[in-house]
Amino acid sequence: MSKVEFKAVGMKYHTLEGETEALKDLSFTIEDNQFVSLIGPSGCGKSTTLSLLAGLLSPTDGQVMIDSKEVDGINQRVAYMLQEDYLFPWRSILDNVLLGLEIRGELNDSSRKRARQLLADYGLGDFEDYYPTQLSGGMRQRVALARTLAIEPDILLLDEPFSALDYHTKLALEDEVAQILREEKKTVILVTHDIGEAIAMSDRVLVFSERPGEIKSDYKIDLTIDGEYSTFKAREATEFNRYFNSLWEELDIYV
């Protein structure tokens, strides 16, 4: 049984000027615990795909299934991480992490304890009572990750979560997040523009075509890594460049 299944999904947006077809006949499946990256040209419907999975949008054609059930409204087992951390400046770090639990009415002693443990695991235990403005960009994005995982989702949707960070922080955080999510055994769907990031972090890369988005190709990423996995070691694997080059050609980018 697949964790996620798109069956001939089509999505059209309407405006006064006309109609935009964002997705057309999109079909793919994702297995449980898989880490899948979506790459493709801008405006090809990657973010729409995530919004459909989160239940923020309903498809105009076809079906989006999670655990063989059609997505209908916001799904409690799906968590969404956006490009920026969107921490609320008026809430302390801990209160930011508790946000999802609060909204779902799941805030109790044990969930609070778990949230604090998450912060401690990410090296932010001493910052619980700080306010977001007092933290660096990388720390803030880690808080956002803790907020995302505090609600214990099965499926994580990451919409370019590292794109707003500086390069060094981005590399370090990519590694950290990849390790955490592998350990937690989550199903992850990452939207990114960074081919290297996609290869280093994922088990599988789906390439989208120009709008209306369809799957153009499907790469299974198999890297030879000595010892324990890290995104840095992944980038050193002999296969890395081969994947990089074929994905680059696949994207067919002209500037």
């Binding site: 989160a54 923020l56 799906v78 956006l82 490009q83 609320f88 008026w90 909204i103 779902r104 609600i151």
Partner: protein, 276 residues
Amino acid sequence: MFKFIERILTKDAVTTEHGQYLKRVRLKKIGVKFSQLAILAVVIIAWELAARYKVIDPFITSYPTQIAKTIYKMALNGELVKHTWTTIYETLVGFTLGAIIGLIVATALWWSDYLSKVFEPYIVLLNALPKMALGPILIIWLGNGVTAIIGMSLLVSIIVTIMMVYNGFRETDNNKIKLLRTLGANQFQIFKKVVLMENLPTIFSALKVNIGLSLVGTIVGEFLVSKAGLGYLIVYGGQVFKLSLVMTSVIILCIVAGLLYYLIVWLEKRLIKWEN
């Protein structure tokens, strides 16, 4: 002596250079304060002297010592507290009602896009209308007294509250709302946890504008109907040509306006702790 001043000016310095920096900053601050006081002193002294030596006619300009005497007399016979309190009371009631009703209307407009589209032209129109023109109508509707004055104070401030707060609500960061929606928040939770919180600074800007506007409404109301209050004193003083009474009232009004404004600033500082 000189060394002592130097020590105060360079207090808490980490290095000598830092000390020089602190000294520059502090001297500038002292300079500004001194200039502010100097302007006030010069105006008061010039006014007093000009009136005494009949450069200006003290009958139509009054003068500082006469004003001070008037304030002293009014303080003794209780007039000062009575009139000042009447104006403050009317302003605060009108302002608070205006703020609460304005906030509720702004929330309703944010809640329903349809509603806001329907009411937009009416709000724009009401905003452009000089509210003072409605004074006589208010007096007929609400009676010849305090209620009409409070009505005036409310009317002057409410439209601005609605417009400023609604615009703030509408410009709430969409991604923060999206984040809450992905967490399963309903409309009420979105309002409470993001829209309202993110707009607290906007709400306070609106309040700061409106405390002044409410005072304008109150004074105009008092001009029209009152038997007490600073607006009443100003009109009465003008009618009987007691300029010292008019000037005194205006000065007290100045102080009241300042105090009310700083009351809002104080509230803002207590409530918005994360922004500094």
